[in-house]
């Protein structure tokens, strides 16, 4: 399956290589560099690159290319999914998945990679098992290690590997038993100039942070589970139970994990929390343009809309912007041509407005397209779909845990077109 892995930074340095079978020369990466040159943007590098003898399957995460070398047929998603798991594991271990972190912890990284694949086939990919085998570095431990020469390899044998619930390690103990669940919903929407919804849907996830002793068996139920249209679960969730009763029943992994992600499909029901009135015009004469944007709260269920940011990718000919914002600050980067207006909290009484002129490259024809607006926002204590957790019950263990549920709504891919959708 996976033959070798190369980690490459943006500058084109191969800063780590690992082979699970015989060694493949790093010159194989030249094909990758070639493809990278052709693609321009890192996003546009094809995830699968064909070379005369190998196939390179790569992902781009946190400014690092994870390039794996494949020799024979394998489902590409299998490799891609695995590479993302590797990146997540680094994130989990070092707090960030960056070149510096990987270089600083190169031995741990190597030990991890050794355990995650055997002969190119995934062996242990559950963070709980790996943490039993290889302890994550902490400042304290690395200090102790340097002084005493003790190791970060676990002394105990990883019994979790033998279990069929590999996601939970045995013998977990906490003095404070807590379970937190974050219901995070993102609105994906495309609105046209008139404010009509072209497309809207809600994607949600429930992220959990469970710190409970022993082997608790949890049951999470919703007030309105029928809202959920499509779901995917962490392997710990018992699917049959969901099918029959619409409750989430699971023995949780220890620590942070994503319990489920879901999709709310209710085209008409999606409440759009903000409205945007905008006018962006370019004039043929005088090589200038005008911007006038107002943002206001719409269906917010009485909650405050926070962290509102408007981002506009301006056409290439826009040289600079001379605007005034009644609230928040704006920046225009003439290199990337991105206008960012950071508004902050939305105020019902005084609607924030951004107004002013743009100066264009003289002589150039006026841009044909009208840029669209990307909106970021956040609403605390509200799941925009109306999803509500009913209760959380714990079985098997005797103690009383502290339970908490938090709701957040965010903008996902929230786009406002500056043209009416009906041309």
């Amino acid at each position: 399956m996976i033959h070798s892995l190369f980690l490459i930074n943006n500058a084109g340095d191969i800063f780590l290589e690992k082979h699970w079978k015989s060694v493949i020369s790093r010159s194989v990466c030249d094909y990758f560099f070639e493809a990278q040159d052709k693609a321009g943007e890192p996003d546009n590098v094809s995830p699968v690159i064909r070379t005369p003898h190998h196939y390179l399957i790569n992902i781009y995460r946190e400014k690092i290319f994870f390039v794996s070398v494949i020799q024979t047929e394998v489902p590409p998603l299998f490799v891609i999914e695995f590479l993302h798991r590797v990146a997540e594991m680094f994130q989990d271990y070092f707090g960030e998945c960056s070149e510096v972190a990987i270089k600083d912890n190169v031995v741990i990284v190597y030990e991890l990679l050794e355990e995650m694949l055997d002969n190119g086939f995934p062996l242990a990919t559950e963070s709980n098992i790996l943490k039993e085998l290889i302890k994550p570095p902490t400042i304290l431990r690395s200090m102790v290690n340097t002084i005493t020469g003790s190791s970060n390899v676990g002394e105990t044998l990883p019994t979790g590997q033998l279990s069929t619930i590999p996601w939970r390690r045995a013998g977990v103990k906490y003095t404070n038993n807590e379970a937190y669940f974050d219901v995070v919903e993102e609105i994906d929407a495309i609105l046209d100039k008139s404010g009509t919804t072209v497309f809207a849907e809600i994607q949600g996830v429930i992220d959990a942070c469970v710190k409970l002793s022993g082997m608790p068996d949890l049951t999470l139920s919703f007030m309105n589970p029928r809202l959920l249209d499509d779901v995917s679960f962490h392997p710990c969730v018992r699917f049959k139970r969901w099918e029959s009763e619409r409750v989430l029943s699971f023995i949780p992994p220890d620590g942070n994990f994503r319990l489920m992600s879901y999709h709310v499909n209710a085209q008409n029901l999606v409440a759009i929390p903000v409205y945007v009135r905008q006018n962006i015009n370019f004039f043929e004469t005088g090589s200038s343009g005008r911007v006038d944007i107002t943002v206001g709260p719409k269906q917010t269920m009485g909650k405050t809309v926070e962290n509102v940011i408007v981002t506009i990718h301006m056409p290439k000919v826009v040289l600079s912007a001379n605007l005034t914002a009644t609230q928040g600050t704006y920046t225009y980067d003439p290199v990337t041509k991105i206008l960012v207006w950071d508004i902050g909290k939305l105020n019902q009484q005084k609607l924030p407005n951004l107004k002013g002129s743009l100066s264009l490259q003289s002589g150039a024809p006026k841009p044909e397209e009208n840029p669209s607006l990307n909106i970021d926002l956040k609403i605390q204590q509200l799941a925009i779909s109306g999803l509500k957790v009913n209760r959380l019950d714990m079985y098997v263990e005797k103690y009383k845990p502290f339970k908490g549920v938090k709701y957040v709504t965010k903008a996902g891919k929230f786009q406002v077109l500056t043209v009416p959708s009906h041309v």
Partner: protein, 1179 residues
């Protein structure tokens, strides 16, 4: 260890190698010593990295990044040496350093060295000259050093085969380790060493590991198979045998890995799957994610060879119809029509044959994979999606759409792959993605490659109902800044126009509007597409052609210019006036045009010459002359060829007659079709599908068979008691059960996992069965347990009846022989009691029979005080709330039953009272004076074994492979040896076959402990139970007695651990005796050491004297001692082995308070007893 060290010290040649390598290193070092840097002495690993990193930066800047590093390790090393940077110079020195560190005795130094070496490997540096120094540490005690040595070994073993061999024996030893994890890790490293010489060793190790008890080791064996195969393909046949064996494994842990091995070694041996097919389907949901992917992909192929096409009847006809719909508008795809007709005929023929019925196994696969669409792992979802696409009936395929659309929210790489597959699917099954049309709308933030794929999907989804929406969407795309994307959009519009006749004109008009776009690329792309569209209906669109002719003045993109020229040439009859004029303009600029345009100018000239030679003859000559001297060979060639063809000369011959036909033949319009058409002959989700070319090792997806192969090959012979559970039932149970009951060893995935992990860390015996292997059996047990109980009861009754007869006729030889002291009277009583029990109904309470027996006893003896006492006892028994009683009974029913027919099977245990009496008589002898008869009368009433004889499990039916063994402490003296505790063992054979020669072997005992085995049971018929009694001398300790329980085929490790209360027998003392003994104990050699007192609060239900007595006697095998005060209860007993006295006093205080006092010489026993009684009383 020593052997290993010897082995390691032997390397005569290794030492030489070390020396030579060192020599080289030193040579370098000497040469460069003037510039030695102090960093060689740095101990801290993290700072040691520093210069390396800097070097990286430097090389990056000097070589200009890019592929600057790509020259292989040696080349690079040399390169850095030549650069003369400090770090490179210290490299050989550091190696020397490292060797020193590796040779040191300190683990910390070794670790440090290994860390540096691994970091070098990670960077792609060559560290192979350290091999001898590193390999010595393979047997290092420090786990981390060991692990890092493994990393090194696996990396360089291939290069240094001879030296690598030195490490082999370490792993061979590891393979025999009692710990499964060590065995597994040894096999893992051993099999990763790519040295051909050890192939036989690997083969042996794999074979052995494949039949290991631990599923984890077996999993590792499965992983090792492809490694060995790649090392030596000659071993294939032997490896297939191992694969076959592992495929039969029932654990989820092994399933994924062995299928992976199967796919790499022998994917063509589909016959190996037959017997395991159903099991794999059923295990699937519990297999880890990566294994699921592999299994699903394999099963897709399997199903294609074994089942019939579920769409055999309808789909072909329907699909034909669909295609005909497109075909009706444009007569261009003649080939397709032919195909369709063929297919139709074929389908009709097939339809005649017989109605399609899906194989239940086919259905099983579809049903069991469906829940996995909800997996968080994109690869699993994709695997299920492709399975449904390739195998499911058309009506059911729709379920995958939602899941695939969900994946599009994931990382862009995932999106990319999913969209590729969706694009292929939408061609065959457009309907299923139609509801999700909007999910494929393109956002300005999408990467270009994603945009283009989405566009592809949108185009495939377009039909006459949604085309207007899609076109409107396309219009917004055309305004995008991303020009590649715009070009793709125009192509897409062109394809929509060709596919859907209704919108052709609209599209054409739209495209024509684009011709006035400011962006040349857009215009050019439009021209190309318009050209294609016009070819379909040129007559109606001469104005468009005219419009395009005008564009030649402005458009510079060669492809577009060429397209316009071709159009004008082709349809010059529709634009007779403009065409010559265009040629005139082109002739002027001919020399400056691109080759592709020049060729079209020649074409145009030729066509015009043929149709309108009057106006264009000279122009054509001119163009041809220009072309004749062109630099491009093709153009000169073409010019010569055309001249010969169109200008009739004497030499030109017959061809020129046909020139007009040749040039102005009606040309079929090009078919604009998706690049994803027909890609589905590759298995979806595969690399080959993505590349649209066969990748190495790709297994073709076979076509459906004409007629179904024999389905009975998948039948598996299952032992009776594991049969008859449908998957569905099992699943439900599995999910339901663990939540509401805490019973151990339950079937749910999680519960079984618990038990497994336990056994994994503890003993190995239990780990054999795990995962759903046990589930199937277990659930079975659940469903049958009730029935069984009933059956048991029936059987029991019958048996009881039979035995009654036997009893009467059979003289009880052994019993009478062994119990000399027992009086005939007592014998009678016991037999009577036994009869009573046997004839009594099941629901008869123990209490009742107890009191009855005591009654009979009391009748035979004196009746002074005893009467009142019995009455009291009876009263309490009667006053007990009846519901509680029945509850208790129903719980114990089965247990009691097994106890009741004890004496019928086993001659050895003599009735309880016999030795009691012997003991009694002893005490009588010693303490003649203070004896009052009343006390002895009282004794039997209290010593009758309390109702709660607990049953312990010795061997679960699952672990015992159908043989269940339970035991209890019968509290009856073990007559062959009075120092032993009698343990009654009940065997139940749950299998369908006889169990033979059940006996005990190899007891592993603590020193001093002894076992008196029960006589071997020769045959235990299926479904039968048998009771035997064995004796164990526990030496008055609660240590477990370990031994092996053997059948004729298997051995099971079992252990019996006695509760402290079972280590004693009742002793009968008078009140005075009791006090005296207590006194002597208290004031014996160690004052106060022999008394333990504990205050306690009695449990709610435990306030009355009767309950206290009951609780205490059930906890410990003690007899009650009469007592004057009703606040106090006294009990006495002696330890079985050493005969030390155990005295217990419970003094009740006001309310629920009480004081428990235990006097015993054996302190450990005393403390443990206090604990147990305390627990019993406070509950």
């Amino acid at each position: 260890m020593t052997a290993m060290q010897k082995l390691l010290q032997l390397p005569v040649n290794a030492v030489n190698i070390v020396k030579t390598v060192q020599g080289v290193a030193q040579g370098q070092e000497e040469a460069r010593s003037p510039v030695l840097t102090p960093d060689s002495g740095q101990q801290n690993w993290y700072s040691a990295v520093q210069p390396e990193e800097l070097r990286h930066l430097r090389t990056a800047s000097t070589t200009g990044g890019g592929g600057g590093e790509g020259g292989g390790e040696w080349g690079e090393d040399r390169g850095t040496l030549e650069e003369g940077l400090s770090s490179a110079q210290t490299q050989p020195l550091r190696h020397d350093d490292l060797k020193e560190m590796l040779d040191s005795n300190k683990d910390s130094l070794k670790l440090e060295a290994m860390k540096r070496i691994v970091a070098m490997i990670a960077r792609g540096k060559n560290a192979s000259d350290l091999f001898p120094a590193v390999v010595k540490n393979v047997a290092c005690k420090n786990i981390e050093v060991k692990k890092l040595v493994y990393v090194y070994l696996v990396r360089y073993a291939e290069e240094q085969q001879d030296l690598a061999l030195l490490s082999i024996s370490t792993f061979q030893r590891g393979l025999k380790d009692p710990n499964q994890l060590i065995r597994a890790s040894a096999l893992r490293v051993l099999s990763s060493i790519r040295v051909t010489i050890i192939v036989p060793i690997m083969m042996l190790a794999i074979k052995e590991a494949a039949s290991d008890m631990s599923p984890y080791v077996r999993k590792t064996a499965a992983h090792a198979i492809p490694k060995l195969y790649s090392l030596d393909p000659e071993q294939k046949d032997q490896l297939i045998e191992v694969i076959e064996k592992l495929l039969a494994d029932k654990t989820t842990l092994v399933a994924g890995s062995v299928v992976m091995a199967f796919e790499e070694v022998c994917p063509e041996r589909i016959d190996l799957i037959h017997k395991n097919y159903r099991k794999l389907c059923n295990l699937l949901i519990d297999v880890e994610e990566w294994g699921q992917v592999v299994i699903i992909n394999m099963l897709t192929r399997y199903a294609r060879t074994q089942f019939l096409n579920p769409n055999i009847n309808e789909s072909l006809l329907e699909e034909g119809g669909e295609k005909a719909f497109y075909g009706s508008d444009d007569d261009d795809d003649d080939d397709d029509d032919d195909d369709d007709e063929e297919k139709k005929a074929e389908a009709a023929a097939l339809a005649k044959r017989k109605p399609y019925v899906m194989d239940p196994d086919h259905r099983l696969l579809l049903r069991n994979t469906k829940p996995l669409l909800q997996s968080r792992n994109a690869a699993v979802v994709m695997a299920v999606a492709q399975l449904y696409f390739h195998l499911a009936p058309k009506a059911e395929v729709g379920v995958i759409a939602k899941a695939l659309v969900r994946l599009m929210r994931s990382h862009s790489e995932v999106q990319y792959v999913v969209l590729q597959n969706v694009a292929t699917m939408t061609i065959k099954r457009r309907g299923m993605f139609e509801p999700y049309l909007k999910s494929f709308y393109i956002r300005s933030t999408d990467p270009t490659q994603i945009k283009i794929l989405k566009l592809e999907v949108l185009t495939n989804l377009a039909n006459e109902t949604n085309i207007s929406t899609i076109l409107r969407e396309f219009q917004t795309y055309i305004k995008s800044m991303d020009k590649d994307f715009v070009a793709a959009t125009i192509q897409a519009i062109g394809r929509c126009a060709t596919n859907i006749g209704e919108v052709r004109d609209t599209c054409l008009n739209g495209l024509v509007q684009l011709l006035s776009n400011r962006d040349e690329l857009v215009v050019a792309e439009s021209v190309v597409v318009i050209k294609k569209l016009l070819q379909m209906q040129p007559e109606q669109h001469s104005d468009i052609i005219k419009h395009m002719a005008k564009l030649t003045d402005n458009i510079q993109v060669p492809m577009a210019r060429a397209s316009i020229l071709w159009l004008i040439g082709e349809y010059c009859e529709h634009v007779p006036k403009i065409a010559p004029d265009v040629l005139r303009k082109m002739a002027k600029t001919f020399t400056n045009e691109e080759d592709i345009v020049k060729l079209q100018i020649i074409n145009l000239a030729a066509k015009l010459y043929l149709t309108n030679s009057k106006q264009t003859k000279l122009l054509t000559q001119y163009v041809l002359n220009l072309a004749k001297y062109d630099q491009n060979y093709d153009i000169r060639d073409r010019a010569r060829f055309i001249r010969q063809l169109i200008v009739p000369t004497d030499k030109s011959g017959a061809l020129s007659k046909y020139a007009k036909k040749l040039f102005l033949a009606l040309k079929p319009a090009p078919v604009l079709e998706s690049p994803f058409k027909d890609r589905d002959h590759f298995q979806l989700g595969s690399l080959s599908h993505l590349l649209n070319a066969k990748a190495g090792g790709y297994q073709e997806l076979p076509d459906w068979p004409e007629s179904a192969p024999d389905p009975s090959v998948r039948n598996v012979e299952v032992p009776e008691w594991t049969k008859c559970t449908s998957r569905k039932e099992r699943k439900e149970k599995k999910v339901e059960k663990p939540f509401y009951s805490d019973s151990e060893g339950e079937s749910g995935p999680t519960e079984s996992a618990d038990s497994e992990s336990d056994s994994g860390s503890g003993s190995q015996s239990g780990s054999e069965e795990s995962g759903s292997g046990s589930e199937s059996e277990e659930s079975e047990e659940e469903s049958e347990s009730e029935e069984e109980e009933e059956e048991e009861e029936d059987e029991e009754e019958e048996r009881a009846k039979k035995k009654k007869k036997v009893d009467k006729s059979k003289p009880k030889k052994p019993e009478s022989a062994e119990s000399d002291q027992s009086s005939g009277e007592e014998q009678k009583r016991i037999r009577k009691g036994g009869k009573d029990r046997r004839s009594g109904t099941e629901s008869e309470s123990e209490d009742e029979s107890e009191s009855e027996s005591s009654e009979s006893e009391s009748e035979s003896e004196e009746e002074s005080e005893s009467d009142t006492d019995i009455k009291k006892k009876k009263k309490t028994a009667a006053s007990k709330p009846p519901p509680k009683q029945t509850k208790k009974e129903s719980k114990k029913e089965t247990k009691e039953m097994s106890l009741l027919d004890l004496d019928d099977f086993e001659p050895t245990p003599s009735p309880q009272v016999t030795p009691v009496n012997s003991f009694l008589s002893n005490s009588l002898v010693t303490d003649l004076e203070g004896l009052s008869l009343t006390d002895t009368v009282l004794a039997p009433t209290t010593i009758a074994p309390s109702s709660s004889v607990r049953l312990y499990e010795l061997l679960h039916r699952i672990t015992g492979e159908g043989l269940a063994v339970e035991y209890c402490f019968s509290r009856q003296p073990f007559s062959p040896d009075p120092h032993m505790v009698a343990v009654q063992i009940q065997f139940t054979n749950n299998t369908t076959s006889e169990a033979k020669s059940l006996h005990i072997e190899e007891p592993k005992l603590q020193s001093g402990m002894r076992i008196k085995e029960f006589p071997e049971i020769e045959v235990l018929p299926a479904g039968e139970s048998v009771n035997v009694v064995m004796g164990i001398d526990f030496c008055d300790s609660t240590q477990a007695a370990n031994f092996q329980l053997c059948t004729h085929i298997r051995k099971f490790f079992v252990s019996i651990q006695p509760p402290v209360g079972e280590l004693m027998t009742p002793a009968f003392l008078t009140e005075n005796e009791f006090k005296k003994e207590q006194e002597t104990l208290l004031h014996g050699q160690l004052m106060g050491m022999n008394e333990i007192s504990e205050k306690l609060t009695l449990g709610e239900k435990c306030q009355s004297e009767h309950v206290i007595v009951e609780r205490v006697t059930s906890t410990a095998n003690l007899s009650r001692v009469p007592c004057g005060s009703d606040k106090e209860s006294r009990f006495a007993g002696k330890t079985v082995s050493s005969g030390s006295l155990v005295l217990v006093t419970v003094t009740r205080k006001d309310g629920a308070g009480a004081l428990l006092t235990v006097n015993c010489e054996k302190m450990v026993i005393g403390t443990m007893l206090v604990k147990d009684i305390l627990q019993a009383l406070t509950q």
